[in-house]
């Protein structure tokens, strides 16, 4: 069980994490989502006591991380940045961590095996690929057989086989009753792995929901309309519950009504339609819509400004 209460982190006057509260329950995989720069890594570092929060507290298994007498058995973590001395072999890296807790060498061999890096365990980490480095990080996270697992972007740099391995690993860890918090900036990846979602943007909590209900809400689908009289049709469709946006001239993206209604309206006013397509709910789209205002580096899409209903 992870509990964040009003976590806030400021660097100077820049607020990176802003009054963030959430809970992560055992037995499920919780996806921690947000665009780059949303504050995911900073939040994870605060959970582990590496960064001190400006305000707020975090507890893992009922205590602050540093309050555990055997922290590696309580929480195993993979951080985004590499946390290994490149001059040491993978096995020696794990042994040095294990020794602090009195964890036996047999457990080191076991996690090396679990992560599939037994063959390279004697090699210096310097020569490791990104994927092998990630596997070593995951081996380190599992070293203490922890009740809670926190992984920051674990699929980074992994090949498709590695990605699949992570997915199954996360699910099996949760199935064993562990608390699993895994960050990603890819909604599609989380949709395949996670049961629960904590979504943040610019350090603020945007959604704390289950994947199922997120999918359901995202399913309030949009309809793509291609017509030479886009402005005219947009004005006709406008209503309190209908939003019409346009990404390119002659193309409308209509939400809040359905294809049938749009077709009837167009026909009634003699507006020709070249295309009328209900869009399948896209998780990635829903995620981007949710976090659009909080993306740190916004690439401005060159488009017509959204055509509002009251356009003449």
């Amino acid at each position: 069980m992870i509990r964040a209460n009003g976590l806030t982190k400021k660097y100077g006057d820049k607020t990176v994490v802003d009054d963030l509260s959430f809970e992560v329950k055992p037995g499920t995989v919780t996806g921690f989502l947000g665009p780059n720069g949303a504050g995911k890594s900073t939040t994870m570092r605060m959970l582990l006591g590496l960064d001190a929060p400006t305000r707020g507290t975090a507890t893992l298994g009922g205590r602050a991380y540093a309050g555990h007498t055997a922290p590696l058995t309580e929480v195993g973590a993979l951080l985004e940045a590499r946390s290994v001395h490149p001059g040491r072999s993978a096995r020696n890296h794990l042994i040095s961590l294990a020794l602090t807790h009195g964890i036996p060498g047999s457990r080191v061999d076991h996690v090396l095996d679990l992560a599939g890096i037994t063959e390279v365990a004697g090699k210096r980490v310097k020569g490791f690929s990104l994927g092998m480095g990630q596997r070593l990080g995951i081996a380190a996270a599992l070293l203490g057989d922890p009740a809670t697992v926190i992984l920051d972007e674990p699929v980074n740099g992994l090949d498709p086989e590695g990605v699949l391995w992570i997915r199954n690993l996360l699910k099996s860890l949760a199935a064993q009753g562990r608390t699993v918090l895994v960050s990603s900036h890819l909604m599609s990846e989380m949709a395949l792995t996670a049961d629960h979602l904590v979504i943040i943007g610019r350090g603020k909590l945007l959604a704390d929901t289950t994947v199922d209900s997120f999918v359901r809400e995202a399913g309030a689908g949009a309809v793509k309309v291609v017509t030479p009289s886009a402005t005219e049709l947009a004005a006709l469709l406008a209503g309190p519950s209908v939003t019409v946006t346009s990404e390119s001239p002659g193309t409308l993206d209509v939400r809040g009504t359905d294809a049938e209604q749009i077709g009837r309206t167009a026909a009634a006013h003699g507006i020709p339609l070249y295309e009328l397509t209900p869009r399948a709910a896209s998780l990635e789209q829903a995620f981007m819509d949710l976090t659009r205002d909080s993306v740190e580096y916004n690439t401005t899409v060159i488009s017509e400004t959204s055509v509002k209903g009251h356009a003449a």
């Binding site: 069980m1 329950k25 055992p26 037995g27 570092r45 582990l48 006591g49 590496l50 960064d51 001190a52 991380y65 540093a66 555990h68 007498t69 055997a70 922290p71 590696l72 058995t73 973590a77 951080l79 940045a81 590499r82 946390s83 290994v84 001395h85 490149p86 001059g87 040491r88 072999s89 020696n92 890296h93 042994i95 040095s96 961590l97 020794l99 602090t100 807790h101 009195g102 964890i103 380190a140 203490g144 057989d145 009740a147 199935a175 064993q176 009753g177 562990r178």
Partner: protein
């Protein structure tokens, strides 16, 4: 809360009492980390080779009545300390600052979130190893260099009064000097910064201060690390220019405690 406890039953029963962090275990871990890096052995062996090589050269090239004839015998044969102190300082900085440049510190502090035991364990391992390694080196260097000096005015045996004590004190002094570097590395968290800081603060600043025309400053400079270490390598430190052996050891120890104390305080407070 039942949901919080029930699923835990699925995890294999853990030996709650067996696994826990103790200071002895952190020391064991730091010893493992220390000995599994090549840089450790390169700098340690480099330091010993410098002491032995320079000592033997000094012995072999000694001429009675030459430039070295009024130099303290032990100081002359331990002249390699000038080089060795740089290598030991580099090793000291690498032990702490090296963890920051590689990111290893995040792993170390995740395993030991109370943080300060990591620094003190590093200091203990480094201090003991450099002391022992230096002591073994000087116990070899002195009698071997003496082989060249039989019959000269510099002939001296390990068993002559004060010789063994000076060699032990000199080895302790070098280890303490290294601990200052280790503390600086913890404060500055950068390998080049730590080495630069050590060379600047420990080796250069005292020389500049010594040139100032104030007796009080010159008196104080005697107790600076480099000067204190030099004093420890002398069988008979000249009273006007150097602190006594006891005072020099105390001074070096205080410098080391100050550097480590600052490192420890900052380690506790700063984000990683």
């Amino acid at each position: 809360m039942s949901t919080a406890t029930a699923p835990r039953a699925g995890i294999a029963p853990r030996k709650a009492t067996a696994y826990r962090v103790t200071f002895a275990r952190v020391v064991h871990s730091e010893w493992h980390k220390f000995r599994t890096l090549r840089s450790t052995w390169i700098t340690l062996i480099g330091s010993s080779v410098a002491i032995l090589g320079v000592g033997l050269t000094m012995g072999a090239t000694y001429e009675a009545g030459g430039g070295d004839s009024d130099v303290d015998t032990v100081l002359m044969l331990l002249f390699g300390f000038q080089l060795a102190q740089l290598m030991i300082a580099v090793l000291g900085v690498l032990v702490t600052a090296g963890e920051y440049s590689t990111g290893m510190v995040r792993s170390s502090l995740t395993a030991v979130p109370t943080r300060t035991p990591v620094l003190w364990a590093k200091a203990a391992v480094f201090g003991v190893v450099t002391f022992v390694s230096t002591l073994v080196t000087v116990l070899l260097t002195f009698p071997l260099a003496q082989l060249f000096l039989t019959g000269s005015d510099k002939e001296m045996a390990l068993t002559d009064p004060g010789v063994l004590g000076t060699l032990v004190a000199a080895s302790a002094g070098l280890a303490l000097l290294g601990l200052i570097a280790l503390g600086l590395g913890a404060v500055l968290r950068s390998v080049p910064g730590g080495i630069g800081g050590f060379i600047g603060l420990v080796l250069i600043v005292p020389v500049i201060l010594d040139m100032l025309p104030y007796t009080a400053v010159q008196d104080a400079v005697r107790y600076f690390p480099a000067k204190s270490l030099e004093s420890l390598t002398m069988l008979h430190p000249t009273p006007d220019a150097y602190p006594s052996t006891g005072a020099a050891l105390l001074a070096l120890a205080l410098w080391a405690v100050a550097a480590l104390g600052a490192g420890s305080l900052l380690l506790k407070r700063r984000d990683v």
